[in-house]
């Protein structure tokens, strides 16, 4: 037998070319009793490794391959929990020494050495480095240092024979040294891939790491493909002259326990204040108190439901979890930080009564088991959106409340995606940078690395890139292998873990770029270890709502957002016209088109529409039946009487995940846990075989319940239609409330609301110029930046929005605030010189941008003359400041030279505004081409959309957000919006047109396009153009 004790996986980040499953599968195939995972300076893969290894019948050993500060590496294996903690501390320290290139010091090794078995030697160690340089005495000295540190029993000299030059002599010297120092030896293969055929992948990863191409040499490039997970026979053969090196691997494996343990309960106990018996009692009381406030009187409180939920929460051991989340929400309320709970937590009436969510789960009869169930092993996940500007206050509170040692952010691993894979692999393969960039730019953003080849064949804009496809074959093959490999380590948007035990016993913590300490395990890994994640998310919509409120307060007309009437006719009228640009969740072209057909008249309709425009319902062909039935154009029938109470509120259509669970429960008597498994299989779009298996179970159980086979099959086909991602009702309801309320703001206070969402950019679906166009459509004037009128942020007023300094490209927040402050304290700026003199924070580039954007137009309107005058103004004001003298305002722009300079053309001015502010202030870009467009028979968009249904129109404009959502037919359909100076049109391009003309739609260099197509109003909805031809202008 033989055990590999030095193995790298893909979590070694550019050092390992195999997935954990591949390594374990190979180990299992070779009959290895155990396998160590020793990634480079990281334990990131350990949680998954510990979870997977037993499935392969392999005992996992935890370790790390540490990079040493001076040179070389050392492998440390954890013998027990104590050893694992030492590893966590060492890894943490290594990343603190150097965040990007972690390094472990000998001092650190001396501090954290208990419960560990150390392997030095091989090709990788400092000892071997000395030997290869023929510095024998230094090698011996270093080995003795390690022997003193770890002791004879805990230190082994690793020997590797990977067919490298010098192997034989190195092994010979290591054998002599180990003998001399009385140390045992182990055979180790420094594994970087499971099978040798993955050597090219490893080589490419090394090229990426060393920033070389395959044609360049680098000492770190591997020479051959011998670092695979060799069989015991191969290893025995290689070390036939030294059998104890093989035998020792097994002995070491036997001395190492699997650590850390999975599934421990690590969540902290909530400190229960006096007056409560225990946490359970406290939670019950808080829930009941909240229920009375929520429902008005005790008589209205759904006691049975709350008791049921409380019992499950108690049985599953999540009382403390709910108390902790309640405490965080209570803190946010005390500090008036806007928040809203979302996700499946809104299925809980307890969460509603604790004011964690705003969805009345009991009133809506939402299924609690979608959130938590006794049968389900998964931990509950409560997500809360906070005002993005104040989310960090909440996070700081959590750190302060539970101790910095016990709280950390969760990491995320971004994996190779299409674009990054093309850029990085292409570069490593030595493909011209232009070719890689050209291809990468054209790939859809979220495309996985293993879908590139298919995309190239399918998408015309990629074919148009004229890339020599034969040269890319290697790239595609390697991209396929690297799909899903972690590439970058990052911070989860809101995930925070809290532990009752110091986190360093569970996970190393490493600083993010912003200095926040993050776990080395991602969400799933942390949960496997027993950590519970809280999602404290930041949502810019919350900031925009808060900003709107603030503006209204400043104007003396405050609004109580929580008291916005939920039945405002004018708001529903607006939504029903599809005029929802800027409205949370309802602004995409698909949503706007849906709204104009749906004619929402109540909040329930908004809940449905949030769930309807999702891949699941769209691919499952549920949108049209839903609309037809709602309008009474199609009868509502149920395949089985038991479906009526479940699907009644959605007109017999499966729309929510909760309904899938309820159907399986009602028709086939699935337990809630079983039904949730079904939902998971479907929602994760797993393999067809898995789905078929669930279908067979469903039909078998349904038959046992007396349901007709054909009916059961048809019902399952509906559920299957839901196959890809669909929404849970609780989440839709949580979003719908915010969607409706932001629609209310857009309808009744558009100036303030659109100013707020312009301030909150980037957010939502549309760029700034579209939001400005929408505000204008609503009768709001959008005024440019003006040093004497603007504030730091955009502000709405009576019929206008005045853009703020922060809308200027590259403007620093401090500079924006200083301009505002200086003007308020010292009065309006009289001249450019006056501005430069008083605003000390201004730099030349920012000042130039202010001028080019029109912020000084109040002076004499010649922007070019002001640009000429600027250097002098800056120099004069600087000289004045340095000399300490107060000088009269420098009025360089009055210089007679200024008047002889011809100003920018209107086109140049407009171009600068778009470039600097993202919005055309002096006009619309398309307006300048109107005469030419008229000659080319292109109508202004407002005129085109007023045409008859079925008429053929030609329009031209700026293309906005072209995208290819999933369709029920699986064919490619492109949707985009087109904007000109008169309005915006939504355009649909079907597959045939797309294949012929589509190359222009996703070309990053083209912004203006022409479209000829048929005007269509589906079922009385808003007009759309079905493109027959698309061309670049």
């Amino acid at each position: 037998m033989f055990v590999h004790l030095h193995v790298h996986s893909m979590y070694s980040m550019l050092h390992g070319a195999s997935r954990l499953e591949e390594l374990l599968q190979k180990a299992a195939l070779e009959g290895a009793p155990a396998l160590a995972l020793t990634d480079r300076d990281s334990v990131a893969g350990l949680a998954e490794f510990l979870r997977l290894a037993p499935q392969y019948g392999v005992r996992p050993i935890s370790g790390v391959d540490f990079t040493l500060e001076e040179e070389g590496r050392i492998v440390l294996l954890a013998q027990n929990d104590e050893g694992y903690e030492q590893i966590c501390r060492l890894v943490t320290e290594a990343h603190q020494i150097n965040r990007l290139v972690p390094q472990t010091s000998r001092r650190g090794l001396s501090r954290y050495r208990d419960g560990l078995i150390a392997l030095t030697g091989g090709r990788f160690s400092d000892v071997s480095a000395y030997l290869l340089r023929r510095e024998y005495h230094l090698a011996r000295e270093r080995l003795l240092f390690y022997r003193n540190l770890y002791g004879r029993d805990q230190l082994y000299v690793a020997l590797s024979r990977t067919s490298l030059p010098g192997d034989a002599s190195l092994v010979q010297h290591l054998l002599c040294l180990s003998d001399e120092c009385g140390l045992g030896v182990v055979a180790a293969n420094d594994v970087h891939y499971a099978v040798s055929s993955d050597f090219p992948v490893h080589d490419i990863l090394v090229c990426m790491r060393t920033k070389t191409t395959v044609d360049q040499t680098h000492p770190a490039r591997p020479l051959n493909s011998e670092n695979d997970l060799k069989s015991a026979e191969q290893m025995k053969g290689l070390f036939a002259d030294c059998p104890e090196a093989v035998a020792n691997t097994v002995l070491i494996a036997q001395r190492c326990a699997a650590t850390p343990r999975l599934g421990q309960s690590l969540f902290p106990q909530f400190t229960v204040p006096d007056g409560y018996e225990d946490g359970k009692e406290m939670l019950r009381q808080l829930v009941y108190q909240g229920a009375v406030r929520r429902y008005g009187s005790m008589d209205e409180v759904p006691r049975a439901r709350l008791d049921h939920e409380l019992e499950i929460i108690h049985q599953l051991g999540y009382v403390d979890y709910f108390l902790v989340v309640w405490d965080i929400a209570a803190f946010a309320r005390r500090r008036k930080i806007r928040y809203a709970g979302r996700g499946s937590a809104a299925d809980s009436a307890v969460a509603y009564c604790l004011y964690i969510t705003d969805v009345d789960a009991a009133g809506r009869n939402l299924l609690f088991e979608r959130f938590m169930s006794l049968e389900r092993a998964e931990k509950p996940d409560i997500d809360i959106d906070f005002d993005s500007l104040r989310r960090d206050e909440v996070r700081d509170y959590v750190y302060q409340r539970y101790g910095a040692d016990h709280v950390a952010s969760v990491c995320t691993y971004s994996t190779f995606r299409g674009r990054s894979a093309v850029r990085e692999i292409g570069k490593a393969l030595g493909l011209p940078e232009g070719v890689c960039a050209n291809l990468a730019k054209r790939l859809p953003y979220m495309l996985h690395a293993d879908q590139i080849e298919a995309a190239l064949a399918r998408l015309p804009e990629l074919r148009a890139a004229r890339i020599p496809q034969e040269r890319l074959r290697l790239l595609f093959a390697i991209a396929r292998r690297l799909a899903g490999f972690p590439r970058h380590f990052g911070t989860h948007v809101g995930g925070v873990v809290i532990s009752h035990t110091p986190l360093l016993r569970i996970t190393p913590l490493q600083p993010s770029a912003k200095g926040i300490l993050i776990t080395q395990f991602d969400k799933d890994g942390a949960e496997n270890l027993g950590l519970v994640k809280l999602d404290l998310l930041s949502l810019r919509t919350m900031s925009a709502i808060e900003d709107t409120n603030r503006q209204l307060e400043e104007q003396g007309r405050p609004l109580d957002y929580d008291e916005i009437p939920l039945d405002d006719e004018e708001t529903f009228e607006m939504i029903a016209k599809g005029e929802t640009i800027g409205v949370f969740q309802l602004e995409s072209p698909a949503q706007r088109a849906l709204q104009s057909r749906l004619a929402a008249s109540a909040l329930e309709d908004i809940v449905a529409s949030v769930a309807l425009i999702r891949p699941g319902p769209i691919k499952g062909n549920m949108v049209d039946p839903f609309l037809a039935r709602k309008k009474g154009l199609e009868g509502i029938t149920y395949l089985h009487p038991k479906l009526e109470p479940i699907l009644g509120k959605t007109y017999g259509v499966v729309l929510f995940q909760e309904q899938v669970i309820e159907i399986a429960t009602a028709i086939a008597e699935f337990t809630p846990g079983e039904a949730d498994q079904l939902r998971r299989v479907m929602s994760h779009a797993r393999s067809g075989a898995e789905m078929d298996q669930i279908g067979q179970d469903f039909i078998r159980k349904a038959l046992r319940c007396g349901v007709n086979e054909q009916v059961a099959e048809t019902i399952f086909s509906y559920m299957r239609g839901y196959a890809s991602y669909g929404f849970c009702e609780a989440h839709a309801a949580a979003f719908a409330a915010t969607a409706y309320k932001t629609a209310y703001l857009a309808r009744h206070m558009p100036a303030e609301f659109f100013a707020a969402i312009i301030n909150a950019q980037p957010m939502g679906y549309y760029p700034r110029h579209v939001l400005a166009a929408e505000a204008r459509r609503r009768g709001v004037h959008v005024l440019g930046v003006d040093v004497n009128q603007s504030a730091a942020q955009a502000k709405g007023g009576e019929g206008y929005i005045r853009l703020g300094f922060l809308q200027v490209l590259g403007m620093r927040e401090e500079t924006a605030r200083q301009i505002d402050l200086k003007r308020r304290c010292g009065g309006p700026f009289a001249s450019l010189g006056d501005f430069c003199e008083r605003v000390t924070d201004i730099d030349r580039l920012t000042a130039e941008r202010l001028i080019r954007a029109g912020a000084f137009d109040f002076l004499q309107g010649n922007r070019k003359a002001l640009l000429w005058a600027l250097p002098e103004a800056i120099a004069a004001s600087r000289a004045a400041r340095e000399s300490g003298e107060l000088i009269a305002h420098v009025r360089c722009e009055d210089d007679e030279r200024s008047f002889s300079i011809e100003d920018f053309s209107p086109q140049e001015r407009l171009s600068a505004e778009y470039q600097i502010l993202g919005i055309g202030i002096s006009g619309h870009w398309m307006a300048q081409y109107r005469d030419e467009l008229t000659r080319a028979a292109c109508l202004p968009i407002d005129q085109a959309l007023a045409g008859m249904d079925g008429s053929v129109v030609s329009v031209a404009g700026i293309i906005i957000r072209p995208h290819r959502p999933p369709t029920k037919s699986g064919r490619t359909v492109v949707f985009f919006s087109l904007e000109d100076e008169t309005g915006m049109a939504d355009v649909t391009v079907f597959q045939d047109v797309y294949q012929r003309d589509g190359a222009v739609l996703f070309d990053p260099r083209r912004h203006m396009i022409g479209v000829r197509g048929v005007l269509q109003r589906r079922q009385g909805g808003a007009p759309q153009i079905m493109a027959r031809r698309v061309w670049s202008l």
């Binding site: 067919s163 490298l164 030059p165 034989a168 020479l223 051959n224 011998e226 290697l474």
Partner: protein
């Protein structure tokens, strides 16, 4: 110092190891000093190569190479 030669040569083998080679004249191999594997330019479809650093009976040091699984030998380098 070494010189890269890169010429095809004839090699006599025993048990897969070179025992003599002919490069302008015949050299008997006294000892294989070192042997290793190199992956070669896999991106151009090259096979892994086996390299033998050998000392001839006259004391010269040469590096011979062959693709794994092939009998085609080349004289890779000569050590001056």
């Amino acid at each position: 110092m070494t010189r890269i030669i890169g010429k095809e040569i004839l090699v006599d083998e025993r048990n897969g190891n070179p025992i003599a080679f002919t490069f302008r004249e015949r050299y008997d191999i006294a000892e294989v000093l070192e042997c290793w594997l190199e992956a070669g330019e896999w991106w151009r479809g090259q096979q892994t190569r086996e390299i033998f650093r050998v000392m001839t009976s006259l004391g010269g040091v040469f590096e011979l190479e062959r693709s794994v699984g092939s009998d085609d030998w080349r004289l890779y380098k000569v050590w001056d």
